[in-house]
Symmetry: C2
Subunit: 324 residues, 2 copies
Amino acid sequence: MSGKVVALCGGVGGAKLALGLSHVVPPDDLTIIVNTGDDFEHLGLYVSPDVDTVLYTLAGIGDPVQGWGLAGESWNFMAALERLGGETWFRLGDTDLATHVERTRRLRSGDILTAVTDALARRLGIACAVLPMSDDPVRTVLDTDEGLLDFQHYFVRRQAVPKVRTIRYDGAAKAAPSSAVLAALSDPALAAVIICPSNPWLSIAPLLAIPALSDLLRASGVPVVAVSPLVDGRAVKGPTAKLMVELGHGVSAAAVATFYGDLVTGHILDDSHAFEADAIRETGAHVTVMPTLMTDLDTRIALARRSLDFARQIAHLGVRGSDV
Amino acid sequence: MSGKVVALCGGVGGAKLALGLSHVVPPDDLTIIVNTGDDFEHLGLYVSPDVDTVLYTLAGIGDPVQGWGLAGESWNFMAALERLGGETWFRLGDTDLATHVERTRRLRSGDILTAVTDALARRLGIACAVLPMSDDPVRTVLDTDEGLLDFQHYFVRRQAVPKVRTIRYDGAAKAAPSSAVLAALSDPALAAVIICPSNPWLSIAPLLAIPALSDLLRASGVPVVAVSPLVDGRAVKGPTAKLMVELGHGVSAAAVATFYGDLVTGHILDDSHAFEADAIRETGAHVTVMPTLMTDLDTRIALARRSLDFARQIAHLGVRGSDV
């Protein structure tokens, strides 16, 4: 499509579509804004898991099986750290560690996260823009039956086992989008925003919890298309379905649509959720149905292309309206 | 020998004798005080090269060929850091890195270097005491024909190529020995101090530059035995000989003895420097001659045993006196 594209993205699932988009949209026209609500300091290092997943995926060096981390990773650091009695619940590969060490060093030297991320992306040969959602700290904290848990403690240390009652995005209310995010979302050439099929509550909500960021999305006047993360009533990966039940939403594409509300003007449902399309259309949003499972590069590119086609159709029809 | 033994130690050469001592002296009776003048912060990590060389050597996990670092090390972190444009002149192995990360984390959490070193030593199964010379920062800085260089920049980055004019031990005048060092050197059961064959100017001088530490050595009343680092007019490893020339001392065991002055009561010379023994004896110090090249564990143990024998003889004869 002509015009610029912004993608909002979390980790594994979102990065797959971001990769597809990077094959379809010219690099100068593509900006990927990434959740940093999962960022944390671990072992004295600043770790930015979703940003790294996006960087590694776009650079073609990610682990193709687990979807995060690096292909061909070695784990000698972790083994040595275990021998020394260090904390080993969050697994940092030897190669991955270089990213955290270099990012931390640059942040300590006074660089902002946006600049550090950009430098890493350039070194990894990524041509499009990858932007952390903010240079201010936003931290996703879960209130669970095991008490308040920081995101990584919930997600990695406790393997998403605790039952979640509510989710907070600490710092979001005071956080500002970076100037690069502001520029991307207020660019007159912006033609579409794609919300990748990341977990809406864990990966996309932290972005939307930044007031100026969701205000910009609403004010953009361009189609905002969300790809539902649900296939066959489950998330492809991760605790989305379990979390939806715990939060009282039920596991449905309609619940995702309700969560996004009028911020999203077009919903892409997987074929397996076609039965929900009419109910969502009744809310006034556009809906289309297609295969959303991304098993290889071809399916990622296909979903990216069809997502942009859908956004283009919405633009022609008006951002709210009838079936597409 | 009965009684407690303190060894003063730098990196590679010193660690070999420290290992020998650890096989000869009961662990509760052996304290190894290690130079921290080479410590530096690199990539945001607190690196303590001499302490690590001693720890790895005593734990039996050191690289037997290069004498520093870990056996079977892998270098995937460095390769990844290079890809990201990070600083790679100081080589940090994947396994070694765990030591720096864990040490840095503990220091940042408020532990003192002595406590962190002790915890690492315990985890690595080391039974004797390994003490950094001070918890205060002392930094060896070299004034060279390329300007002022911090130790690692001189030693590693510039491979000891610059010509050294003078050496400073920044912070030493204000540094205090740790309470553990004070206790070891003022222990009534102390029977001998062994100065390992480390570079006197680079590895031992930083310890002696701490006023309270050299005062304690002088006041100890026990034999202080220095093993000369010179074999065949050269250091076994490292820039000792080159440095001695640059500092105007000439390369001789006598120059080492002159440098240590009356702080050292007994000198052990390598067989190849037997011709220097009489000249050093004329200064009033005890001198003995033996093979000092440590090529394997047996020769390390042998040198340790003979060093202690020499100290015992000196104790019988009086700390200053005639030939032994």
